[in-house]
Symmetry: C2
């Protein structure tokens, strides 16, 4: 609330061309924050001989039961061959099960087994621990800001897909 329309962050910079330091700070915090959060569950995954790829699939299946393979492919943005391997391993170890689509029998619906739900739940517990503590120490206003900036990083075309994850369940 000092001057006029120009934000206080960058004396003399255009709003579309922010000061280099603020951008670098964002890049660095995003890198370290993201990697440290994901590191938090590596040990637990290793116990089950699983990797991060398995967790991502597990996560989205937990988030949206009866997800189709095609929908999961869009979320993960990898090739079907890569995903195929991951799903095969998850199924072999009894973490997920599949059923033919109801309206379209070409589709394969993905769902967690009880064992899968337990694992996802434990992994989530560990992530929540880290993220909760960051939320609390930053305060609620910071949390909404955190969300808004990250939303702005997601291209228009992908936003619906991401927002559609919410409200379904869990």
């Amino acid at each position: 609330m000092t001057d006029v329309s120009r934000p206080a962050i960058s004396p003399g910079a255009s709003p579309l061309f922010l000061r280099e330091d603020e951008i670098r700070r964002g890049i660095e915090l995003l890198y370290f924050g993201y990697t440290r959060l994901t590191n938090a569950i590596d040990q637990e995954l290793a116990k089950q001989s699983l990797g991060r790829a398995h967790h991502r699939a597990l996560y989205f299946i937990a988030r949206q039961p009866d997800l189709t393979v095609g929908e999961l492919l869009k979320l993960l943005a990898i090739t079907k061959q890569s995903l195929g391997r991951v799903l095969k391993e998850l199924q072999e170890q009894d973490f997920i099960l599949t059923s033919p689509g109801v309206v379209d029998r070409r589709q394969k619906l993905l769902r967690l087994t009880e064992k899968g739900a337990e694992l996802e739940s434990e992994l989530f517990r560990q992530l929540r621990q880290k993220l909760s503590s960051a939320y609390v120490s930053a305060g609620q206003e910071s949390v909404t800001g955190f969300w808004h900036v990250l939303e702005g990083l997601i291209p228009e075309n992908d936003r619906k897909m991401v927002f559609d994850l919410r409200g379904d369940n869990g």
Copy 2:
């Protein structure tokens, strides 16, 4: 502002055990936001036959010229063998150069060549474009919140290392 110590986000939830949805939202936005930002430079890197690992090294060397190999190892948290390959390739393609340490000649100081600086600068330009637009659409208050939450994700032991990147240079 409103009530007492309990944040308004979660009626009935303990501050250390936030509502599941808020945590899942954070996990998802962090995942999509981070991957979409890093995707932004993949094409440019591919033009030079480089990958993300090369960019991370390039980035930190740009950020802190005359960084030692040991310091870079701590920042990247990978093995010296992995980093060795990356640095070798960057050097072969004339993106970086090294010099023996001044105070300690066992050390190797890393620095960008002019070619390296140009590449880093172009990559940074593309990251800035994405991140600036997210900052602007979220607003300055959101940006500081974004920073605070991410700082909270970085373990105590690593914070000094991250914060020390700031202020050295542009």
